[in-house]
């Protein structure tokens, strides 16, 4: 690739940015608060892809980017680099999650039961057009049960392992400081599982859906069924200087396992989790995880393929960089094209009799 330094565009650039921002108008605290309040699913999606949990900042990023998700994620990833890393929290365990939704499509009678939680899964998708005619849409209130649901739900995978339905590989404890970290190390292949899962947690929702969907439609090795889907809040458990471990508060997380009957005679599981609530992302990610073992090179379910192509900042950045001046590169292509046209077609070589 060739680049060339040019000048003369300063005024155009300045006015271009002004034109963009003028469309968005004044951004104030009230607008940010309204975005945070009105669009929690979008806030969650942006926080997950930015890999930074702070709803106010995510709302601000969305306000500044005018809702362009890739710009918002880039703003947050960039801002994140201004902050020191204070510590690494204790690992979140599935059966410790403050669980608000937990369902299984594979097993009807899961230990702990099926709890739909907040969901539009069974809702009619009707646009409330009356709102535009001045009739506010007021949602009906939930009728609470007499007793609360348990705050914590057992792990279905742990139960399946105990039943001998799922392989239970031995695990070694890793100190939090030694967990591989993509923000400090490059992604290399074959990837450490910790890198794979971290990369999926930060990945672009749309990209994961496209590749996960291709596997679901048959361009993969295994058809997924949702083993367990959870929307929950996780305690951020940190250490006091005196040694006491405590929760500094809760953050929203979502997590999915998908399953398929493996060749070994056991159920195989794929896993994905992310910050914020994002069901499409974790089901797609778990499908990719399930399909990755033994995938052919260049297939959408091959780890290298799906991890490289779902990194939102790299992918969107590479895409939009093609808008930037490529005159030299393109000029050389043009020269070659014109040259080829100008040169008369070579004569057919005379046929030499054998």
């Amino acid at each position: 690739m060739a680049y060339v330094a040019t000048r003369g565009g300063e005024r155009a650039i300045e006015q271009s940015e002004r034109l963009y921002r003028a469309e968005l108008g004044q951004i104030d605290a009230a607008r940010v608060a309204e975005i945070r309040h009105a669009l929690p699913m979008l806030i969650d999606r942006v926080m997950g892809e930015a890999s930074l949990y702070e709803p106010d900042l995510a709302a601000l990023a969305l306000a500044q980017a005018g809702g362009d998700l890739y710009e918002a994620v880039l703003l947050l990833r960039a801002w994140r680099t201004t902050q020191p890393r204070l510590t690494i929290a204790q690992p979140v365990l599935q059966d410790q999650l403050f669980t608000l939704r937990r369902i299984s499509a594979a097993f009807k009678d899961i230990p702990g039961g099926q709890i739909l939680g907040p969901s539009l899964d069974y809702a009619h998708r009707l646009l409330a057009t009356g709102v535009l005619q001045g009739r506010p849409y007021v949602p009906a209130a939930v009728q609470p049960a007499a007793t609360p649901a348990p705050a914590r739900q057992p792990s279905l995978a742990a139960w399946q392992k105990a039943q001998g339905l799922v392989a239970d590989p031995a695990r070694a404890d890793v100190a939090p400081d030694d967990i591989p970290d993509l923000t400090r190390e490059p992604l290399l292949f074959p990837a450490a599982r910790a890198h794979t899962l971290q990369s999926l947690a930060r990945a672009d929702t749309g990209g994961m859906l496209a590749l996960g969907y291709s596997a679901m439609r048959g361009y993969g090795n295994a058809h997924p069924t949702v083993n367990e889907l959870r929307l929950a809040e996780a305690d951020v458990r940190v250490r006091h200087p005196g040694g006491t471990v405590f929760s500094a508060g809760r953050v929203k997380v979502s997590q999915a396992e998908v399953t398929s009957k493996g060749k070994s005679g056991l159920l195989e599981l794929g896993f994905c989790a992310t910050l914020g609530w994002n069901e499409v992302k974790v089901i797609s990610g778990a499908t990719l995880d399930l399909n990755a073992p033994g995938a052919a090179k260049g297939s959408p379910v091959e780890e290298e393929f799906f991890l490289y192509h779902t990194e939102p900042v790299e992918a969107s950045g590479f895409c939009i960089h093609f808008k930037l001046p490529h005159y030299v590169t393109f000029q050389s292509s043009l020269d070659a094209l014109r040259g080829a046209k100008a040169v008369p077609a070579p004569h057919e070589p005379e046929k030499v009799p054998a």
Partner: protein, 155 residues
């Protein structure tokens, strides 16, 4: 998977006469109502005397999670927190809260320092009140969640 000791969620703080253990105290302070926490902290400052602020900043806490398939710990992402660390009256106080509210973290550190010198009736009453309010919030949410439990019948 080694089971981790589960701290009881709803049964601590029910007896105002009992002191809170340190972990529970910090849990409750980190989730306490910001205004009430600040009011308590301001009231406790006089007794603490001069306060040395060791740290008052925002920063990132990396949050790992354990994968349920292979038991691999991996990083979910970073959480922005506010942190405060103080020294006063020969003791230390520490606060960390999810979010970027430095005042909340500082108020937590002040109460932590004061409580380390003794959980006075005022501190204990505050903790009891907040713990009750937090449990009530959780219970109300979980009653709504319970309403979505599927009572499935197969034909």
């Amino acid at each position: 998977m080694a089971p981790r000791k589960v701290p009881p969620m709803f049964d601590q703080g029910s007896d105002p006469a009992q002191p809170f253990d340190h972990a529970r105290l910090l849990d409750v302070l980190a989730r306490a109502d910001a205004d009430r926490l600040a009011t308590l902290a301001e009231g406790l400052l006089t007794a603490l005397g001069p306060v040395e602020v060791v740290q008052s900043r925002t920063g990132l806490v990396m949050l790992p999670m354990r994968d349920t398939v292979q038991g691999t710990d991996f990083h979910l992402g970073e959480v922005l927190v506010a942190e405060a660390h103080i020294r006063a009256a020969g003791t230390e106080g520490y606060g960390m809260v999810v979010g970027r509210d430095l005042n909340r973290a500082m108020a937590m550190a002040v109460v932590d320092a004061a409580a380390s010198l003794g959980q006075t009736p005022q501190i204990r009453a505050f903790l009891h009140h907040e713990a009750t309010a937090q449990a009530a919030t959780d219970t109300a949410r979980l009653r709504e969640v319970e309403a979505t439990r599927v009572d499935m019948e197969t034909f």
